[in-house]
Symmetry: C2
Subunit: 151 residues, 2 copies
DNA sequence: CCCTTGCTTGGAGTGCGCTCCAAGGTTCTA
DNA sequence: TAGAACCTTGGAGCGCACTCCAAGCAAGGG
């Protein structure tokens, strides 16, 4: 029986303690196990907090670049893949649909001639995020007001 | 054939044009059709942007207070119901699960002795919203950086 | 009277983003 | 060399928040 597959995010996220004294400026968001540039799927699970299922699913739907394989067919992720997953994680936080991220991945695969389209997509996303923040701040005001009433 | 039921959010939301000159301070978010304190379901659809399906579903799952009925059984919403839907809309924007909103609705129905619990729920939500805003601002920084690169 | 519009119900269906399963091959540790 | 831990695949299943359907009732206009 494989235990790993069923563990629901043992490390909830690589969120650092916000109260910890910030000694080094920005330690890379993803603490990567070693200097080697290849990782098994379970190492990527440990680093990203995603499940192995999700990583394989991302690949199936075209959200990942080509992932190298070992001579027996096992995935060997590289640092650039981790970087990509970091970006995907950020975009996911914005609520961007996976289909849009797949579109972005396609643009990246198509090469340099899609720079303009990629920038446009990112700028649209940025507008959405700003609108979302404004919305949330409006909601915050309502919550503050309600909480006041309950005091 | 009933057309209304299939119209997907004809008025996307009561979002006012942000470029419009802001003459009156804050006009009530929901422009209510008249001074009368009862509305048919389709009037509520027009005001809230929700579908009639969703309004009936909200009622089924216990997210609404008791809604009055006409002598023929049709729903007659009142201003307090619109106020409630406004709050629900805000909470929905925060990503709060519907089940939690139902819980809040239950607390309201249980009366004054649940004030403390309601406040706690709202305070937890407020913390979540603040965390979410911080997250989004982090994402915004990443987007800014990426967009810079594409320029 | 009939037609259209709008409303009613319980239950079934949809789309998204995972999440899991079964059956089997591989790799590491003792 | 055994056994545990880990990896592979295609496809099925799940939870959420709606979304829609079918069949029927009620009210107003021509």
């Amino acid at each position: 029986m494989t235990v790993m597959e069923t563990t629901p995010a043992p490390t909830p996220a690589p969120t650092r303690d916000p109260a910890a004294p910030e000694i080094c400026p920005p330690p890379p968001a993803h603490p990567r196990p070693d200097g080697q540039d290849h990782y098994t799927i379970s190492e990527v699970v440990a680093v990203t907090g995603l499940t192995a299922h999700t990583l394989r699913w991302y690949e199936r739907i075209g959200l990942m670049p080509h992932i190298d394989r070992s001579h027996t067919g096992q995935r060997r992720y590289r640092n650039r893949d981790l970087d990509w997953l970091t970006l995907v994680g950020k975009l996911r936080l914005t609520g961007m649909p996976v289909a849009d991220m797949v579109r972005y991945a396609e643009l990246v695969r198509e090469g340099e001639q899609t720079f303009a389209q990629r920038r446009e997509l990112l700028e649209r996303t940025r507008r959405d995020v700003r609108a979302r923040i404004a919305e949330l701040q409006g909601t915050l005001a309502v919550l503050d007001h309600k909480i006041d009433i309950y005091s």
